[in-house]
Symmetry: C2
Amino acid sequence: MATKKFINEPDSVVDDALQGLVKTNRNLRFHPSCKRVLLRIDYGEHVANGKIVLLAGGGSGHEPFAIGFIGKGLLTGAICGDVFASPPSNHVLAALEETRGEAGTVLFVINYTGDRLNFGLAAEKFKKSGGKVRVVVIADDIALENVENRIGSRGLAAATLIMKVAGAMTEAGKSLDEIADYAEKLNGRCATLGVSLYPCSLPNRPPMFELEQGKMEVGLGIHGEPGKSREDLRPARGIIPLMMDTIIGSQAVTNHQNHPLILLLNNLGSVSQIEMGILRGEIVNYIMDLKQEVSLFYQGTFMSSLDGKGISITAMRADDQVIKYLEFATDAEAWPRAFPGSAFNSFEQRLPDRVEDEKQMIERKGATLRKEEADLVKKCVQSACHALIEKRDFLNDLDGAAGDGDCGQTMAHAAKCILEANESLHWQNPASLLSQLAAIFQETVGGTGGAIYALLLEAASGSFEESAHPENWSHGLEIGLKAITEYGRAQPGDRTMVDTLHAVVDYMKRGSSFTNSQTIKEIGEIAKKAAESTATMKASAGRASYTAEAVQTKPDAGAMAASIWIGAICQKINGQISK
Amino acid sequence: MATKKFINEPDSVVDDALQGLVKTNRNLRFHPSCKRVLLRIDYGEHVANGKIVLLAGGGSGHEPFAIGFIGKGLLTGAICGDVFASPPSNHVLAALEETRGEAGTVLFVINYTGDRLNFGLAAEKFKKSGGKVRVVVIADDIALENVENRIGSRGLAAATLIMKVAGAMTEAGKSLDEIADYAEKLNGRCATLGVSLYPCSLPNRPPMFELEQGKMEVGLGIHGEPGKSREDLRPARGIIPLMMDTIIGSQAVTNHQNHPLILLLNNLGSVSQIEMGILRGEIVNYIMDLKQEVSLFYQGTFMSSLDGKGISITAMRADDQVIKYLEFATDAEAWPRAFPGSAFNSFEQRLPDRVEDEKQMIERKGATLRKEEADLVKKCVQSACHALIEKRDFLNDLDGAAGDGDCGQTMAHAAKCILEANESLHWQNPASLLSQLAAIFQETVGGTGGAIYALLLEAASGSFEESAHPENWSHGLEIGLKAITEYGRAQPGDRTMVDTLHAVVDYMKRGSSFTNSQTIKEIGEIAKKAAESTATMKASAGRASYTAEAVQTKPDAGAMAASIWIGAICQKINGQISK
């Protein structure tokens, strides 16, 4: 089954992508007569100034290589073949001719036979007509390092580092041979290895090979070909040492032990950002264990393999000159900033040993209740808790009809935690008490439900800073309701607990006395009626707003839960009054 | 089936990724007591200097948002929840407390209920203890613009643009209210819409929903939830107008008609670079058709949805101030450079109408043959062509045993093209003739095989610049062989056509006379013998080098093809001599 892609026709993939770049990046233009050759907009001036021309290219499907690296301080132009296919030599020759200058040209070839031949043929023709060109073949893959093969290693992401150095050297006025010789020298100091979890797929084609669940491909190239070996998938902390051991042990890296490393973590196409972050961390862990010095670390998409879900790591043995050149400014769009390795070592001091995530210790604060008042508050709260525990299944059933069916359970859990916290709660200080209850909801319930009650209680606690009269409770509920409508966005009529609370606050604002048994009884009844009325409401916020209306024929679970604890409190108060 | 990922344990995904960032980016550090809060390394100085603090965050899985945007000129810190889950409010409060300053803090909330509540609760507590904070809720999704929902639009990638503006404003010394008010104003000028081809998957989980072949999800958010509608998959040039029509027609965009647009193309996680390039181009096509003015265009991964294969496009109505702020420098690692929209308009003049890819016109050049010599050359070439055509199936069979089975076919095709080109070939000028033959191989055969012959012939043509004696042919073959061993890397013994050519060149270098019938006959025999001897060779280069040795028991097809045309030429010359 072909992998779905954001493309037009499969045949127009390369041309459409090149046009996308040229249409948006004002530093780029097409060759005057070849739409597969992209050039720096100011290549004429570059050549006229006697600067060395840098060209690279090969099959497409490896973006941003090479087109994303065209710019001041990097490539002068790039020649693009079809997906995973070498461009014909007359396109390479067209690029050479168009940028022909007295100073000469470095033509970078990523080592694949087709590219070597087509770029080589173009270079030979160019030389025959008097052109100055040095062909630099980049070969950095170490997957098959010990396998005898005259073709040499495959060319992988090291090309991007080497081209960057060469680009800075052109700006520094170096000669053709200086640049080409140094690039070849650097190639001998580079090692790259790839690992993939899923293969890529060509336009309108299924994935290029089968890679079973639980397996990963090690030592693959960038053309969707299988790798050197297929191994059991392991965690990131196992994959990185597997790769780094091979890379650090390669000839290119061991031959220059006394130089610090430059590391490049390359996304082969479709690895997510969170995974790239994890891999970055594991590379640092490995490096610090090994006590290797790293001068620069790069992470990004440098040389991809279409939509392959894999990575490659390139190591280059550095010297001071290389670092200077890598850090030299460029306006090539795909060149990212580097992370200096010197940051690696200072890290361990900065990492906290442990998250401090304990329940906040809440101090006694605000106005104080008389002993008998505090006892009533305690009885009310405990009564509310018992009622919620008792109605657990009822609330779960209501919630199951429209939401995720856990309203009863989460409310009962919070209630249990409050009952258990009994001794540590500041019953005489409502401001403290409400903050403590808020913390319990936040920590034991969590999620949206926990946050709504935490917000309600925390805001309400503000009502008791100066005084703790009966009307402070009514005011507290009012400012609590205000807070949850502000941050939760539900309004009366939206089929949420706001319907219950709003009805109660509205009734209490009429100024009834809270020592009047009839008033208290009415509050409980109003709450219940308001909660039940949500049965006929359309959900515009909260748990049920994403659910089809057809299933919403019962009252909202959250609204009913509020009426349950309000009802229990009212009953307890009336019991006290009637004594 | 769970999607394979580069992770350690599913539970450690967020912490591992955060550590990866802090371990590599020296501008970042952890909160002293919370490992889910990342801060600018110099946040203390920032606060001490009286600058406004900017905090953002939410569930993880949207990287680089928000952690990648911490840096000078952007965020002061970020609070990270579990994957797709709001952070608890005490973590938000810890971030607020740690960066508490006299100037105040803007707390950005990406509009989801859980974040609104948890960030809101933290802000309320912070205010209660005297903290200055403005909560700015970003809501830019227009998928459900006309659906009544009190919760408001979802918060998507517009947050990154708005945060960037706010970051520049902090550096410009603006006040808390100036920044928060302007951020809220900008939110009213933003519209975002997403489209996805494949859903994302949580760590160790299968894809979050089923999205059939041939379908795409339109109007989705960033939490793996299904979108507003499921539509037939269309080409990129159909997807972009579908998205842009909705975006351009949204209230936020239509309400400010007189301002130019800022556009942001966001990769939701795993769209390949070549696809992103195509989409960029289609956006410009749409904009130019519509004659809308674009001031800045951004492309990259700003706010992802784990490994979702989708994109979102954000439009913001600009003003001069916004542009200045967006272009203000930042060292946040994930902030990319913008492409100025002014480049869009100058594009059409720069695009070549058509690729000029015609066969090169090759001039007469080099030394000239006598009429009878030219006739012999013609007869030899034609005889070689007929022999290759005749041996088509034989060569295909040889090639099929070790390679892709098309050697006979491609050689016969080239031979036919040479025979057809008869009239236009410069038979009296070997330098021109060989270049013409090279061009025919390059254009009609292509690939590696075509390139090798093109290289051989093009290099050999160099032998006839000054003279056209019989020994120039021998010298031409020698320099041709040198060229293909240089660029093709095969050496004698590697089981390629080089074995045939090398044996012949080696024999001819011994200085035998080319008018001697016996010598000519021997050349043909040596070629045949050399080609046949490849049967026992191990392939180290060329078509067979990636194939198991067991199947290589017959001679190499390329080596045999070379012996066939050499043999045919020798036979023709001897026929002439014996006349």
